[in-house]
Symmetry: C3
Subunit: 433 residues, 3 copies
Amino acid sequence: MMERRHDRQFVRTFFTSPTAVEGEDNSAKMLEGAATLRGLQAPDVWVPDNEDATAPSMREEGAENIVEAVAEHGADFPGEIHPRVVWHRDRPATRYQGLQQMLTITDPAGGAAEHIDGFVIPEVGDIDDWKKADEAITWVETENDLEEGGLTMSVIVESGAAELAMGDLREEMGKPSNNLERLFLLVDGEVDYTKDMRAMTPTGELPAWPELRHNTSRGASAAGCIAVDGPYDDIRDVEGYRERMTANRAKGMNGIWSLTPGQVEEANTAPLPPKTGSWLLDLGSREVELEDAGDAQVYDGDHLSLVETPDGYHLTVGNEELDVDEDELREELLDRTAYIPSLDDAVDSMEEFEAAKEAGKGAIAMTRAATLRLDGIEIDIESDRMWDEATYQAAMTPIELFQDVYEHRPDQHEELVELYSEDVVERATAVGN
Amino acid sequence: MMERRHDRQFVRTFFTSPTAVEGEDNSAKMLEGAATLRGLQAPDVWVPDNEDATAPSMREEGAENIVEAVAEHGADFPGEIHPRVVWHRDRPATRYQGLQQMLTITDPAGGAAEHIDGFVIPEVGDIDDWKKADEAITWVETENDLEEGGLTMSVIVESGAAELAMGDLREEMGKPSNNLERLFLLVDGEVDYTKDMRAMTPTGELPAWPELRHNTSRGASAAGCIAVDGPYDDIRDVEGYRERMTANRAKGMNGIWSLTPGQVEEANTAPLPPKTGSWLLDLGSREVELEDAGDAQVYDGDHLSLVETPDGYHLTVGNEELDVDEDELREELLDRTAYIPSLDDAVDSMEEFEAAKEAGKGAIAMTRAATLRLDGIEIDIESDRMWDEATYQAAMTPIELFQDVYEHRPDQHEELVELYSEDVVERATAVGN
Amino acid sequence: MMERRHDRQFVRTFFTSPTAVEGEDNSAKMLEGAATLRGLQAPDVWVPDNEDATAPSMREEGAENIVEAVAEHGADFPGEIHPRVVWHRDRPATRYQGLQQMLTITDPAGGAAEHIDGFVIPEVGDIDDWKKADEAITWVETENDLEEGGLTMSVIVESGAAELAMGDLREEMGKPSNNLERLFLLVDGEVDYTKDMRAMTPTGELPAWPELRHNTSRGASAAGCIAVDGPYDDIRDVEGYRERMTANRAKGMNGIWSLTPGQVEEANTAPLPPKTGSWLLDLGSREVELEDAGDAQVYDGDHLSLVETPDGYHLTVGNEELDVDEDELREELLDRTAYIPSLDDAVDSMEEFEAAKEAGKGAIAMTRAATLRLDGIEIDIESDRMWDEATYQAAMTPIELFQDVYEHRPDQHEELVELYSEDVVERATAVGN
């Protein structure tokens, strides 16, 4: 795995707050609420949003509000702080405004600069436009006596041109005339992307854009950046948010935008392995989690029936019917079951492989066994999976994410211990190093 | 949204006609039939096809036929005219033939040139091959005293090399040694693409090529071109053609090839918002449109049952059963319903947001309410969707398409008014400007 | 279709063998077993694997074993031989080791060089890394007195950087400072790719990576290489392996990794057209193959019922019910049926189109007729599909694959004749040439 370029190797959550809300006594109220979040409700990356979340007329005040809030709370905030300023590939006046906002936010007089980790640049276009934003940040660093290259740059990918630019990053970074090594997050912005692509759906729902998400994840992998998915609008729909994150992780996109502290908590938790493992049973039209009865994994629902016959077993799953002997039944059930390992299980497997490697073995069989009780009948199944170095490395990703969280987010230690137990947390932070 | 480079910002229909049919009294019969189409049966782009649709031996005659048909009918034809000539990335002789055909078609003596909007170039390869075609068109313009850059170039993307070239367009366009700004349509050609990729399916059916269609749409977005999908062979299958177009629009590919005037009419109509809105209900395995009974949206089918219980409601949808109170029922139904707005609804939302913006608001809640009658029981539901500037812009796409059609296709005004009413058409052409 | 650059135009199978197994009397046992495979169990490309399949401590011995095994068996082995050596984009020491291994394997003293067709380079990164591997092979050729450019290079695509590099191949090949024309196979390596992309799934199962497979197939098409999918771990699961291959072929990825002689046989056979054609019937939730009863294609299952009514027919398929007259029934059944042509059928169609072309026709209707017997009722259906030159070319792919196999694998002739009959094999090798 390519090392990521900055402190955080993983970013689970990207949480935006309006910087100035009109008609409130204190226009910075939302900023202050966000700045005081802690633990699982506090994001890995907090984004005081001086662009879309804040009305254009309030953005000057917004920049000042960021300075005040970050100067006051920045030292204690447990995540990183990356304000979003305005920018647009097609509008020079907007780009100039973005430069001014960054100068204001990092003005040494304001006392916020030392807590600002970088800036988020929306609406970027092709790679030359990314370079303009990079150069604007370099000016800001020079003008405000900050270390050159010390501010990261994260971009919102919300145009076809920006999607294509992600294919050029690796070869453009490190050229002597830019500081593109400052790139940190590649964040998809599906609403504006949909506009840019001129896509339409009958109900106005956003398209899923699987290719964009793949290309963002790939661009991040090739250039040492971190991929983050865009906002999930339907805040009520926690199940949908979780499904989106599961699909994203299968693409290597392990972070997501969060619009509320509730979404932050969901998204901080979702990529962590579960506390307890569980067995899944594939019933054709659906997959169910088996109930752990201690001595067996149980399914008693209506979608499967199993009866003993003189010659073996008669199995009915949905529309399919099978007459099988015991071995065939076991095979069939092996095909239909899968195990979701807990963090504890994951650490066990890591340790087992490391011990085998130390003993000179290149590959070992990892065995997973269970007793299933289906329709009252018990069957033992056991599956082997060959692990070699590559399997080990690929299985390491969730552990590395856990370790990255543990290292950078001490404010979450207590909740992690509560979730997993002291012992599991300790082993998980030690394994693989 | 990136402005498209030419007059038409949207192209719904790309209709090819054989230029010379052997064994007919009048070999130009198909051309003449097409040239006299009007209204919804007339395409946005008409393509007298001197390549695959015409036998090789008939193509010389075909070029002459184009001259005659376009000289006679071109002035009155309501769409644009873009003949397809021969070309092949691997065959210089074919490319030279293509040049000759273009010279013939735009020969000043023939009287067709002034009605020719551009040429369609098939079988292009990498970007250098696109430049050869561009240069050939520049020669044609010079030789035949046409304005340099006045002819557009549309390409058929039917090779892996051409798919990759779409990633380079933006940066190649505008270089001093080419006229690639003439690029207009990027049209997928899935039959030849399937051959070039050496793909096979058991029944010989074409693969769906979702990534190609994404990349074509993205290439169009990045370079200011317009994406068009290839031919849908099964002319009988109107439902399949519609489903393909719906999927395409979710990718930003808003135009499609049409093989018959019937397909033209379908494809001219499909991207326009419906006359009346409708509610969809998700029944798990399928989605149905609710029946509008005036006072309520009704579902009486077998796939949902709803009964009142002492504690609330018992809801059965497919295999799922829920016992819920009234609020939970409402939530569940909100998750299962969606509204397809009419053109009228779309204009209403635009106007509502514009008024809010004028009053200084950056975001407003758009409310959509309905009374559902399911299994005889009535439930009121109401959903809010937050609209900000980005939502507004993304929702604008179908309106912009409508306005583009209205501006460039006066021959369709009558049919549009008949479909939507005078009042809705008037408001739809005015909104957003 | 772009000509592929080397002898084989298609590669069905890529079979890896450990080069040295610890703790065996004869550490080269696996190599010798593989080297003596023949017929459908012998792969198109055999890969003595001195990387992941062999423990690091055994690789020096492994390189020696390759020399011995290939010197002894190489002349008689029916497929090509492409050893895999170590390489890593991020580790110069590993790359230097790879060079040493290649020098050892092709040392003139060992007698293996003349049977080595090329090398497989794993873990490549961006295009500059590919050039380093190419240069290493050039050194090997120079040092060991082999023809410059005579060894092919195949790569394992297992990083985002390598995926992106495939977009540059076409334009980098043929530059005077490299010998990248030696590129032969582009092989996906999904386990390491998953690690590089940092993707995670709940059960640890590999993501399907459809975009990677598309991009590999496209890269192969644009650069004259051959696309091969990575290993399918679950060796028990033959059905799953077949489904993966079917999906791959629809992407133009016609080859796949094989881990056992059993998988080789499956994968050598899967892309060949079937011996007998068959009709499919779409039952909504599933598709079934109809039973060929000689005079009719029969379905007697529970998922369709068809009864005659006074006005026509009542058809029930799953949840859908239709009252139709005979013509409507025929239309409905046409929509629900599809035919999988046999090799014999495919050759017939080719010959029919060629005859029509000779007679001056550019397009003809191919008719496919059948009598269906559904629930005891017989209906004749007949569908026409228009074939033009493009259809013919696209339909040619499986025949070209067959011909490529026939030309390069005489050891499989007997099995092919046994499968298809002498006559069909003869016509299939003759058609299209």
